[in-house]
Structure formats: structure tokens, C-alpha cells
Symmetry: C2
Subunit: 305 residues, 2 copies
């Protein structure tokens, strides 16, 4: 194990998964003065970080052997399982005292199973999904929802501050993932609200920009309305977060809600509407393209201004 | 016709409908130095305004005969029809040049019909529904969505500033009502988002206050989450806006969407859920009591902290 970033700010931190989110996050750790050992399944994604001063890891096991703290930021539940418990995974390289911080958004149930494996190996796992999208990762303004024991959360908090402005400890292991689901339920149902509202306004002949201005300052306001509303009016479907990734998160939401017997009918509706957009080949568009599902029903389109 | 508030700030303004909204609004006109002639169907509601210096009107016709500008703020479509076109209504007292400003939330179709009657009598009608609830009325921080001709809107804007901080001209007559529907679609679907999210969080064993803190600063944020979320956790169902009034507005939304062939499925779902709460005798609770419908399905309750 290398030097200790929990006691030495210049100590090595492992970072596994250098995509749209993980790449900038690892970059912010470097910029904060940490030594960072990186690994990515597609090696090409490692180069920008190596150019910025990171060291290359040979595998997740190698990263874990060299770093006490290892951040993980990959796409889906099987990816985290593979990186932690698969061949040449973190568990093959970690030693007692390892701290695994999983920034991926994955199943809370699998999170708890993996945390058990890590604990059996003498380490600690925290679930720490993020929100704020690619903009938040670039600007180091992410929100992180942490699940785990208070002492462990307190230990990693200074490291996470390199890329997050809001870091909230929501409960024991798995709670971060559950809070992230809460976040996604709000995001997509707020987006459905904006989609219904703007399509109604379009059909009614209203000036859409003026309408957002008229209703955006009061009880109808939401981040989605103020930020994605104007983008929708311009028919700019570039993603802050893609439909494909959103749909993956909603699958986690519906699985968890199903297991608990909790009704989330609007979330389920959005899941189905997004599915129609994926089938139409629109999965790589932003999640605000939800309105296209309602447009298809109505036979009209909002904007462009 | 009395002196002219459009050219003289101390001129008389008529105000018809002195309920939870109209009472404070008329009071702000008085406080701004206007002379105000008031009328209310239940005469008892006039007394606080008379005590504050308003003059009593004998009927809507009497108010209209004495004031060039008449504000109307009553509950539902038939009330506005009665006040404008009924016996002893505004049309019986108004003269050419009258300006009727309707702050009620009513049918856009009936709004246009009534505006036609007013125009035939030589006057002008503007639709000017408000949002911001009873708090906004008390604090003079309402948002007003105005429909009408630009010159007429410009003329009444200084009067409306007595009780509104956001005054947006959204289009021709009827557009104010349509924008208000857009507002209500956003309000109730955002509320559904908060209800699904908090019930999920409760079932998942999360600390609800921490969860709102964790997700409330980013893409999941909304006025409903930040303002009604904490109130819901305390199980404080006092209304900013009652289920009964919200349901009336949603009926207007569904009628208009139906006429235009616009799909607003989440809004329709909320309409039906509110209906179950009305049937259970909860119509006088705040619209954030929507969560009780989902709680009934799940057999669990959120909070109290």
C-alpha cells in the first residue's frame, strides 16, 4: 500500500473509471495536489489524466495494492461488481484498511453485498453516488450522497471536496444509492411536469419564453424548468445526462420501489415514455428530450423560437 | 364614472371579491394611496376594507359606474360570469372606456366570451390570474399573468404593482388563464414528484430532512421540494392553497387539454388522486397533502420527524 491520503494530502488515491464523470473528478484530485493512480477499462481514456500527472494502474487490483483509498466511478451495477469482485478486481489487491468509495449509481442491494465482501477482506466500502451531471463534474460542483459509517465518511470527506460542493451523509451503507434514487425520481417527474406544461403552452399558442418567465419565479419553479426549459424551446437535445443513463437509474428506482411496495406511478410512466424514445434511437439525447414522447402523442412540437 | 386611476394615482379603483386573495390585494391598493370602492357577495368580508378606508359599493354595477378600472377576484368561472354579466353586474354599470381586470382563475374560453361582451359595451377586459397563494397576497409578492392588448396591459401595470412583484404579459385575452394552467400543471406534477420521492425515502429508511438537504441543491430541486417538503415531513397540512381550489384549477387544465388534444397524463393522475382525498373529506387541506393518496396505497406514512 502506498502513502496515505487520509493523513497526507499528497498521498496516492486510486481512481477507477475515467468517463464523462470520473475523468474530470480524477483531474480535480490531481489539481488539489493529490497523487492519483488511475485505471480505465478502455485504456485510451487514461491518457489525458496521465498527461496531467496521474500514474497508470495495471488493473483495479494493482490500483488497490498501491492506494489505501480507491474511488470508483463506472456506469452500472455489473461494472462495479466486476471492478471490485471480478478477476484482477479491487479485492485481489486491497489490504486491511482499504477504503473503497463508489461514486457509481447502482443497485442498493448489490452495494450492500459488495460492502460485505470488502468488510470480510478487512476494508470499508462507502456508497457515494453523485448528482450534478457532466457540468458539475467539470466545475467541481457535484453533490455527493454518502452512505456508510460516520467515521469513514468524515475521513474521506476532505478528498471528495476536490470535486463536490455538497456532501451529505444520509445513512448507513446503501443509503447513498437510495438517496440518489430519490434524486432521480424528482428529476424525471419534474421533467415530465416541464414537458406537459410546455406542450400545453405550445398548443395554447402562448409565447413559451414569456410563459417560463411568468411562472418560473414562484411555486411552479424547478431547476428543470429554469435550466432545461429554455433548452427545450430551442430544441437543443444535447445531454447533460442521457436518456440511456437516466433509464438505467429509473430501472434501479422501479426495482427498489417494487421490492418495498412503494407506489411511484409518475416515475413508472416516465420510464415507459423514455423506453419509447430509446426504441426510436434517441437514447443518446438529453433526458429533457422526454417531451418528444408527448409530442408524438399530440402530433405537434414545441418551439423552436 | 369617477376620477381616473390610470391618470391619477389617487383615482378610484373598484375591487370585487374580497376573499383570501382579493382582501389583501384590495388592502395593498389602499395602502398605495388609491381610493378603492369594494364589493363582496358576503357583505361581512367588506368590513375590514371599509375600516381601512375603502368605500362600499352597492353591487358590481354600482362599483363599475363609479370606477373606470374594476378588479375582479372571485373563485370560479360561474362567479366571474355572474359578477360581469349577471343581474346588477359590471356590464349594467360600466360605461365606454371601462377596464375590467379579472384576477380569478377561470376558463379561458369563458374569459374570451366575457371579453367580447365587455368590448361590445365599449370597455376592455384583461385576464390576470395570479400565483403565489395567500402568502403572496399578504406580502404583495404575487405573480400576475396578463392576457390582453399591449396598451391596456401597460395602462394597468402600475396599479397591479401594488400587490405583485412579477407581472408578465403573455399574449392576447385568454392567455393569462392559459399561462395559469401551465403554472398549475407544473405545481401539481412537481408536488407528485415530491410525494413519490419522500414516500420512497421513508420506505427506504432514509432520514428525510437529510435527504432533502442532499438533493435539494441540484437538478432535482423545486419550489415544492424546498418549501412544502419540510412541511410534509412535519405532517403540517395547513394550506397555502387548498386541494379543493387546486382541483378546480386542474379541471380547467383537463378541459383545455381535452379541447386541444394535448396529453398531460401526470396532471390527470394528480387530478384523480386529489379526487380520492376530497372524497375522504380532506379537500380543505393544503395541496401538498397529495402524498396522503400515495400513503394510502403503500400503507405507510412519511414523518413526522
Amino acid at each position: 500500500m502506498g502513502d496515505d491520503p487520509l493523513t497526507d494530502p499528497a498521498g496516492s488515491i486510486g481512481f477507477i473509471g475515467l468517463g464523462t464523470m470520473g475523468g474530470p473528478m480524477a483531474g480535480h484530485l490531481l489539481a488539489a495536489g493529490h497523487r492519483v493512480v488511475v485505471w480505465n477499462r478502455s485504456p485510451g481514456r487514461m491518457q489525458p489524466l496521465l498527461d496531467a500527472g496521474a500514474e497508470p494502474g495495471a488493473s483495479p487490483a494493482d490500483v488497490a495494492a498501491r492506494c489505501r483509498v480507491v474511488m470508483v466511478c463506472v456506469s452500472d451495477t455489473p461494472d462495479v461488481t466486476e471492478v471490485i469482485a471480478g478477476p484482477s478486481g479491487i479485492l485481489e489487491g486491497s489490504t486491511a484498511g482499504s477504503v473503497i468509495v463508489d461514486h457509481s449509481t447502482i443497485s442498493p442491494v448489490e452495494t450492500r453485498r459488495l460492502a460485505g465482501l470488502v468488510a470480510a477482506a478487512g476494508g470499508v466500502m462507502l456508497d457515494a453516488p453523485v448528482s450534478g451531471g457532466s457540468e458539475g463534474a467539470r466545475r467541481a460542483t457535484l453533490s455527493v450522497m454518502l452512505g456508510g459509517e460516520p467515521d469513514d465518511v468524515a475521513a474521506v470527506r476532505p478528498l471528495i471536496e476536490a470535486y463536490a460542493t455538497t456532501i451529505t451523509h444520509v445513512g448507513p451503507i446503501g443509503s447513498g444509492q437510495l438517496a440518489k434514487i430519490v434524486n432521480q425520481v424528482l428529476v424525471v417527474v419534474n421533467q415530465l411536469a416541464v414537458s406537459e406544461a410546455l406542450l400545453f403552452a405550445e398548443a395554447a399558442g402562448l409565447d413559451l419564453e414569456r410563459t417560463i418567465e411568468a411562472v418560473g419565479g414562484g411555486t411552479a419553479s424547478s431547476w428543470m424548468l429554469l435550466n432545461r426549459g429554455p433548452q427545450m424551446i430551442r430544441r437543443d437535445w444535447r445531454p447533460g445526462f442521457t436518456i440511456d443513463l437516466q433509464q438505467k437509474d429509473l430501472r434501479l428506482a422501479l426495482e427498489a420501489a417494487d421490492a418495498m411496495g412503494v407506489p411511484i406511478p409518475a416515475t413508472a410512466l416516465v420510464y415507459q415514455l423514455y423506453r419509447t424514445l430509446q426504441t426510436r434511437g434517441l437514447g443518446s439525447e438529453g433526458n429533457h428530450a422526454l417531451v418528444k414522447a408527448l409530442e408524438a402523442l399530440a402530433g405537434i412540437e414545441i418551439g423552436p423560437v
